[in-house]
Amino acid sequence: MNVTEPIRHAARVTPDSAAVIRADGSALSYAFLDHAIDVMGINAQRLGLRAGDLAGLTVTGPDETLGLILLLGLARIGVVTADPALPGDRIRLRFHAGASGPPGSVLVDPGWLPRGVADGPKPRIPSDPDAVLRLFESSGTTGQPKFVIVTHMQMTQRVLLRWIAEGGDPATRIVCVSLSSALGLVSALRTFWRGGTLVLSNPADAAAAIAGHGVTSLVTSPLSLRTMLDGMPPDAGPFASLQEVLVGGSALPPRLYRLAVERLSPHIVSTLGSTETNSYASSKVRDLDERPGAVGYVWPGVEAEAVDEAGVPLPPGTAGRLRIRSPMNATGYFDSDPNRAEQFRDGWFYSSDVGAVWPDRMLTLNGRMNEVINAGGTKVHPQVIEAALLKLPTVLDAAAFGVPDATGVTRIQAAIVARTHIEDAVLSAFCQRMLGPLAPVGILQMKALPRNESGKILRDRLVDIALELMHTAQDGKRPA
């Protein structure tokens, strides 16, 4: 089945229900959404795109509606989408939703949308379950982003198992992660396939949108959750309508959890997964027990095991590298090199998480096998940050690491050794330009980086130093 087929079905069964509420408050019906998906597909065909072609497209603000409908339009005609950052010349066309975009990209403006709903016959939707839907970008363990191949069938399984594991009620849902990320797209489809309503909102206006539209479900990452809570007016929330706040991407810090319960809803769900596997364990946070690192029960239909270095399954409750097998698993990595293929073997995905699966299928997380920083759901390898910092001519050495902030959300920080001191404003502006959202929130300037005897950077030491500085700063702010 093509993942847009259930939207066609909803357009027949509930044509006038609101599928999307845009940031300006206007609503798009299922009949319109389905027609707009067809029109986007036809637009793409006029540009010469055909089933199996690869098109660059990412869905972020300011107009998520256009990007989302284009993504679905391309999916409907069998065009594979990928983040435009995909290297090489495999991408036939790069799209950009907005008035201006990177050179060489096709600009998509509101004129691409139809004016209304058309009657009459509709184009047939091709149905090849093994066709590739999208190459989702995933944080690389080597500093290079990887592109994860997900087919229509795998995405279908991701939606269906999520209905069992986390509920299939028709929802009015806000999704605070990119709609072209694996979690974002699965959340949008989970909504549309049930005839629910997807509410698009800027994170700053999310609180108003929740109240205004009676939102029942919020999908977010710890970092977006923190940003949203910070921006909420003091008198807003909690919201009685919110039946589910699903926090994916990384472990939910206890302090942030308590804040979310206080300001949003008691129904906070933690979920563990990755682009490669989809979420595969979840639980209401209030039902999690005392086991350290408990994240949730492994979903039905999913095999999850901790294995030792030789790949032999460990007894229940023993920590090891987690491997996951289910019909939701991605096919593999695009342009996969042999080192990366190590992660996809015999139907299993070998994750970089270290954890244990208990006899009652509770999964606990004990750490990661590599140095990837999981900054509240945004995963980045330190090398990416370090390589950017080293582009400054006076920087001799650099190290990036994650430090929990006051609510426990991990933030990216860095330490550098520079020939001469660099002004904070200069550093900050440079990082913003080079790294955007990945820019470190704090940069220490040091005489030398702590390293072990073999020269490996001691990131734990750097984390301790950063925490010490944070506490000193807070003490300083405390009124006398």
């Binding site: 087929e5 259930p6 027949r12 509930t14 299939g168 039902d287 029960y297 039905p300 299928r361």
Partner: protein
């Protein structure tokens, strides 16, 4: 995935949510249901049953919950259950509900799960993980001839539940299932409820209306026969039952008279579904949507492909009538131990249900009859469903079935069986019929209390034919 795995997950995720309610007799939360399945599995293991064994297990009246628990316990262990109509040579042992069992049967009853609440020493049953294992041999709802059985694996059943998720809105629901839980649509309805953390309310004919109110039933799944029983319980002039949001009717065409009564007395939202045990659900629609086109059966489910083909097997353009075939992830591989029937109905990945119909550009499927039921009278071929639709428009007619019976010379004559709410004049019926079928009139019109239907709710025209033939013989004598 073992089809009981979601129940174990939900037993941890929402242990105290109500899973099954059987009136005042029994209520099970998800934690208790999961435990009851494990305890029943313990009994099954002590009988020496192993994965791959086939056992006979059928539903009898008032045995719903013990039946359901044993059915799921067998599934959890990878033991295959079968309708008792399966020939005994294929069956390792047969279960019988009650305090005593006939020779050769193993009895089971409520006591099989009683230990769920008392005996903590019974370990959780091992969850059979091979999803290609056979779950159950379902009886085919064929309306004539010897019963056929359809092997359905755990994986196939999971795809069928998923398909139902996709064709029907609504998440966790409190659902009352007025269909046999061991037949295909009943089994899918129960899994659809229990996989989503909903509540299954057992259909108890005596207290059904009260139960809908007491237990907050939102969806009533019924056959036309069980719907009629519920409608009859409502006094004339009664309004819809509060709280009931949807009635879902499967198995057969919903007659117009019954539809009007159900809309007025039970629920303003009724959907009808089309399906077969060989493919699960094919199409579904609210009854209002069916008025747009004669013979409309519903919108084709999102993951189902239906084609009308011509005599040469070529797909016909949209809107043109032909023999229907169906392809989807839910099509079974064939019939159990019946190669000839399999070869006839399952070809090249398609299932041929034996219906004639058309697929329309808006995704609607319309039926104009069954290829095998076409009545041929003196060379005039027509389809009983067409005439039944005409008869159903007569206000007094609640439901009807049309069939042909050979006269003393062997030439078929047109007959009808009617369920009526008030007397109806034969001449009037013949006049109405003549408008649509020139030179045609009914040789026999039977008024009956109820149409004979099989477990899935399909009218058994063969039984009506036998009844008329018997009456004719009695006349001669």
């Amino acid at each position: 995935m073992n089809i009981t795995a979601p129940i174990r997950y939900l037993a941890r995720h929402m242990p105290d949510t109500m899973a099954v309610i059987d009136g005042d007799h029994l209520r099970l939360t998800y934690a208790q249901l999961d435990r009851a399945i494990d305890v029943a599995a313990h009994h099954v293991l002590r009988l020496g049953l192993r994965p791959g064994d086939i056992v006979a297990l059928g539903l009898v009246s008032r045995s719903e919950v013990p039946f359901l628990v044993l059915l799921l316990a067998l599934a959890r262990l990878g033991v295959t259950s079968a309708e008792p109509s399966l020939p005994p040579e294929h069956v390792r042992l047969a279960f019988h509900y009650g305090t005593t069992a006939p020779p050769g049967h193993v009895r089971f009853d409520e006591s099989w799960m009683a230990a769920a609440f008392t005996d903590a020493a019974i370990a959780p049953a091992p969850m059979h993980g091979d999803e290609t294992a056979l779950l159950r041999l379902f009886a085919s709802s064929g309306t004539t001839g010897t019963p056929k059985h359809i092997p359905v694996s755990h994986a196939l059943m999971a795809r069928r539940v998923y398909s139902r998720f996709l064709s029907q809105g609504g998440g966790p629901r409190t659902r009352m299932v007025g269909l046999g839980l061991g037949i295909m649509p009943g089994f899918i309805s129960l899994l659809m409820t229990l996989w989503q953390g909903g509540t299954l309310v057992i259909f108890n004919p005596a207290s059904v209306v009260a139960d809908i109110g007491r237990f907050g039933v939102e969806v009533l799944v019924a056959s036309t026969a069980s719907l009629k029983r519920v409608v009859d319980l409502r006094p004339e002039g009664a309004g819809p039952v509060p709280g009931l949001q949807l009635i879902s009717i499967g198995g057969s065409r919903l007659p117009a008279g019954l539809r009007q009564l159900a809309l007025a007395r039970l629920c303003p939202h009724i959907e009808t579904t089309l399906g077969a045990a060989e493919v699960a659900r094919i199409a579904c629609a609210r009854v209002e949507a069916l008025d747009t086109r004669p013979g409309a059966a519903g919108f084709i489910s999102p993951d189902v492909e239906v084609q009308a083909i011509d005599a040469e097997g070529n797909p016909l353009p949209e809107g043109e009538e032909g023999v229907l075939r169906v392809r989807s992830p839910c099509v079974a591989d064939g019939y159990f131990a019946d190669r000839a029937a399999t070869a006839e109905s399952f070809r090249d990945g398609w299932f041929y249900p034996g219906d004639i119909g058309a697929v329309w550009p808006d995704g609607m499927l319309s039926l104009s009859g069954r290829a095998s039921e076409v009545i041929n009278i003196g060379g005039d071929k027509f389809d009983p469903a067409r005439i039944e639709q005409v008869l159903d428009r007569v206000p007094q007619v609640v439901e009807s079935a049309v069939f042909a019976v050979p006269d003393e010379t062997g030439s078929p004559e047109l007959c009808a069986a009617l369920v009526v709410s008030a007397p109806v004049d034969t001449a009037e019926l013949n006049a109405i019929c003549a408008r649509y079928l020139p030179r045609m009139s009914f040789a026999t019109i039977l008024e009956v209390d109820a149409l004979p239907r099989n477990e899935a709710g399909k009218v058994q025209r063969d039984r009506l034919m036998a009844l008329v033939a018997a009456l004719d013989r009695a006349d001669e004598a």
